[in-house]
């Protein structure tokens, strides 16, 4: 049952026939795990909190840095030096006290993800590197959780929802990470500050749709966003029956840390 205050807070949701009080209760009962509290994670956390997602797990070992503030809008200048998960929790507590933020001030690893992920209904990708993305993709497949994918670089972004066998997983589309030098990181090449906002909101929209069970999620579609041209390409993507993790005969059936070493990164300094 929604309280009078919740009925007022979520009135604009409740008015929607596709949501109603019942849908709002689904949101309040939902548990979403967010990997990364940075560029993509910021808008996802803000909007899922506003929407009333009842439990939001946030996983990030980083502290807030001045260079983050150009795009990581959940953090503010006074938060510099603070753990990002703490900054997220403080902001979300102010936006919506209905949301229980569970902080995981650690990086996702093959050891901690099996303990954490099964407690959640779905996982949202705010990853900033390939190793973590492949780890979370594989984990989501193994633990059968929908994975709301998003990634950005410079002026471009990608988004999808991975939920095999309904559609592909990340490895079906990109079987391997790029070699050093092929694709730069934001740290090397930069990223337009507004871009993770654009992609993060797409991810938040997909997460809400999945929780409510409405609309057409991006399952089986890869959305490619060209921010400079403001063009959106919808590419069809299918499950690869020979995929090592979601295929008919998977070879990746558990998470092993050695499969996710940060070996494949762009060249250049890792130091700020």
């Amino acid at each position: 049952m929604l309280s009078d205050e919740q009925i007022m807070r979520y009135s604009r949701h409740i008015l929607l026939p596709e949501v109603g009080g019942r849908g709002q209760q689904k949101l309040l009962a939902a548990k979403v795990l967010l990997i990364g509290a940075g560029g993509l994670g910021s808008p996802v956390a803000l909007y899922l909190a506003a929407a009333g997602v009842g439990t939001l797990g946030v996983m990030d070992a980083d502290t807030v840095d001045l260079s983050n503030l150009q795009r990581q809008v959940i953090h503010a200048t006074p938060d510099i030096g603070k753990l990002k998960v703490e900054s997220v929790k403080e902001t979300i507590n102010q936006i919506n006290p209905d949301v229980n933020v569970i902080m995981y001030p650690e990086f996702a690893t093959a050891d901690n993800v099996p303990e954490i992920l099964p407690q959640y209904d779905l996982v949202v990708d705010g990853c900033d590197n390939f190793a973590t993305r492949y780890l979370m993709n594989d984990a989501a497949v193994i633990y059968k959780k929908p994975y709301v994918y998003g990634s950005i670089l410079r002026f471009d972004g990608q988004a999808s929802v991975f939920n095999p066998p309904q559609g592909p997983c990340y490895r079906c589309i990109f079987p391997e990470a790029p070699p050093p030098g092929a694709v730069p990181s934001c740290q090397e090449a930069g990223v337009l500050g507004v871009l993770p906002g654009l992609l993060g909101l797409i991810q938040a929209t997909e997460a809400v749709k999945l929780i409510l069970g409405v609309g057409e999620p991006l399952i089986g579609r890869l959305l490619i966003v060209d921010g400079l041209g403001m063009e959106f390409l919808h590419a069809k993507v299918k499950r690869n029956t020979k995929c090592p993790v979601c295929g008919d005969e998977p070879t990746i059936t558990k998470l092993l840390e050695e499969n996710y070493l940060q070996a494949v990164c762009s060249v250049g300094s890792a130091e700020e």
């Binding site: 993509l40 950005i152 990109f174 990470a177 092929a182 990181s185 400079l228 590419a235 300094s269």
Partner: protein, 92 residues
């Protein structure tokens, strides 16, 4: 026909968003890039595997060639070939 390059790959093609190419199949086109755009070809084509590099997904219009005939997928004049790399943003 046209190859569309997203921004992470444009630096290998002198900043071009689109390049004009010719060929009867995807394979023809990418092998042809070795002459016309060698820096780009090096990033996209794996000679030892005789295939596109595994960090790319290539679409003809909106269809993934992995769901068609792979690099042997035929192409025609009006097709737009999009070469989409895996991206991860962030830091190293």
């Amino acid at each position: 026909m046209t190859i569309y390059l997203p921004t992470p790959l444009r630096r290998h093609a002198g900043g071009a968003r689109e390049i004009e190419v010719s060929g009867k199949t995807v394979r023809d086109i990418f092998i042809g890039l070795k002459d016309s755009h060698p820096a780009l070809a090096e990033q996209l084509w794996d000679d030892s595997a005789n295939d596109l590099k595994k960090y790319l997904s290539v679409f003809i219009n909106d269809e993934n060639i992995r769901n068609l005939q792979g690099p042997d997928t035929p192409v025609s004049g009006k097709d737009v070939i999009s070469v989409i790399p895996a991206i991860a943003g962030g830091s190293i």
